[in-house]
């Protein structure tokens, strides 16, 4: 309790902590929204792949001194395109294509970063350092949040139907390929933002865990999106508090909180809670 009071007092005192809280909240919202579509499309591995594949883009942006979003987007989309190309032009299964491409991108990223020569930066990129968020980073995050929210609001019905029933969407004339790559583009943008709070290695957890938790509580897409964003925010803010108080890296702190919420839901949620099922089985 004492530490919570300390945290709140520190919040009002330190700008860096306020920036961290605002950024974490925004990242929680956007990753919950986009992550919901990622898990419903059975693309968790793809989410992991894209989040790793932006690493060379981050390095290139750093070397050239351009905006990190541009570098990351180029490499994120490039990775998605190559994965699509490899899996359609070979007899390999999709997950194999993903594994080959994203590890290659990740490796390239490491080499480029060591060429750029900044070890502290690499550590922050990998594990997140939300306490060092700059004003520029925050503005970038605001822009990405707007893009992610607008994307989901404007294309809600297209995202819904192309996730649920792609063949139907195709027969009525929806360009499902374009939907796929648009989602990948927004995913890379979200990845770059989430990179600040949880780091590249754990971005996938922010995408998947709050969305998976939300999935267990509802049977409606719109509710799932709201809940996923809510769980994302909760995990981010509680994780930030733990990170500040115990001096843990922000990424692992946030992800552990998200995993805790998942565990509780897994046991208690009405739709597939383990304990509820047990009880029903007993009464039946």
């Amino acid at each position: 309790m004492h530490s919570i009071a300390t945290f709140i007092a520190a919040l009002s005192k330190y700008d860096f902590l306020q920036s961290a809280l605002i950024t974490s909240t925004m990242v929680g919202i956007m990753s919950g929204l986009i992550g919901s579509f990622i898990i419903l499309r059975g693309m968790s591995l793809m989410g992991d792949a894209i989040s790793h594949a932006v690493l060379p883009g981050v390095a290139v942006a750093y070397i050239l001194g351009i905006n990190i979003l541009i570098g990351a987007s180029v490499f994120g989309i490039l990775a998605a395109l190559i994965i699509g190309f490899v899996s359609t032009h070979s007899k390999l299964k999709n997950d194999t294509a993903i594994g080959v491409v994203f590890s290659a991108f990740y490796a390239l990223g490491f080499i480029l970063i060591s060429l750029a020569g900044s070890a502290t930066n690499l550590h922050h990129i990998l594990f997140g350092n939300v306490l060092a968020v700059s004003n520029g980073d925050m503005i970038t995050t605001v822009i990405v949040l707007c893009i992610a929210v607008l994307f989901v609001v404007i294309f809600y019905k297209e995202l819904l139907i192309s996730s649920f029933d792609p063949t139907f969407a195709q027969t009525y004339g929806l360009n499902t390929q374009l939907m796929h790559y648009s989602l990948m583009l927004v995913l890379t943008l979200v990845t770059v933002s989430a990179l600040q709070t949880v780091g590249i290695i754990l971005v996938v957890a922010m995408l998947i865990t709050p969305a998976a938790t939300a999935f267990m509580w509802t049977n409606r897409m719109s509710t799932m999106l709201t809940l996923a964003a809510g769980f994302g925010v909760l995990a981010s803010t509680v994780g930030l508090y733990l990170s500040y108080t115990f001096n843990w890296a922000s990424g692992p702190a946030i992800v552990i909180v998200a995993a805790g919420m998942f565990l509780i839901s897994f046991l208690l949620a009405p739709k597939q809670g383990l304990l509820i099922k047990r009880r029903e089985a007993k009464h039946a």
């Binding site: 139907f168 027969t171 009525y172 004339g173 049977n219």
Partner: protein
């Protein structure tokens, strides 16, 4: 009228069919029969542009199918559908109105009414808030038909709609098919149960890696055609027991 011309699917070394040409009339229910792997679903998917074709065209009322996507309702076999997806019966049927809405527009009052009316037609209004995984096979198939109703398309294609469903649902779906026919729509049903061919269809297309026969049921559903396409055993079974009125 749906007109498929010179459709070829599959590589030249292993073609599924080549140069297939066949037409489907307006205001008729046309059944497509043929042995497993004869290319029934493949022909439909090829015509709809869902799979790669080597050559051929598909036109509906003189215009390329690819140019009038909003006018096609296709109820495919949905074995690989994710039944745990967070969508309820109503929202599912509502997605039938998406085609006519186009991008950027959300379904409004009119679309909601259309979806409700469609659900009413298949007697599933009471299930509108149910998650789709909580339906029986027959109910789920009726929900698919309701979505096709909501689409209000002139060309309706159903792939094996009666597989694994109860009699009651089958009858209700047939009633809808009759209503569509009487409204002048082109109704096409890929079908495998030969027993009901005469009862269910007006026209028949028989496929086996190419067109075996097509035309009114009375002229095409014959012992000779069934023997040629399937086997003499099956033809004997179907045409000797109940009187060989078509043979």
């Amino acid at each position: 009228m749906l007109e498929i011309r010179n459709l070829s699917v599959g590589y030249s070394a292993a073609p599924i069919f080549t140069d297939l040409s066949v037409t489907f009339a307006n205001g008729r229910i046309t059944g497509i029969i043929g042995p497993n792997g004869a290319g029934k679903s493949t022909m439909i998917k090829g015509a709809l542009g869902l799979i790669k074709t080597q050559r051929g065209t598909a036109t509906f009322c003189g215009q390329a199918l690819s140019k009038q996507r909003g006018n096609i309702a296709y109820v495919e076999q949905h074995n690989d559908l994710d039944l745990s997806f967070p969508i309820n019966v109503f929202d599912f049927v509502l997605s039938g109105t998406y085609a006519q809405l186009g991008l950027f527009k959300s379904p409004g009052k009119r679309e909601h009414q259309r979806a409700l009316a469609a659900l009413e037609r298949v007697n599933l209004s009471a299930f509108r808030n149910r998650q789709i995984g909580g339906l029986s096979g027959g109910q789920l198939q009726r929900v698919f038909v309701a979505r096709a109703i909501a689409q209000d398309a002139d060309l309706v294609i159903l792939d094996e709609p009666f597989v694994g469903i109860d009699m009651h649902s089958e009858q209700q779906i047939m009633t809808v098919l009759h209503e569509w026919r009487d409204a002048g729509k082109t109704v096409i049903v890929v079908h495998h149960d030969l027993n009901k061919v005469s009862a269910y269809f007006d026209d028949l297309v028989i496929l086996n890696h190419g067109l075996m026969a097509s035309g009114p049921v009375a002229a095409t559903y014959t012992a000779a055609n069934i023997e040629r396409t399937f086997s003499s055993d099956l033809s004997a079974l179907l045409f000797t027991k109940g009187g060989d009125q078509y043979a």
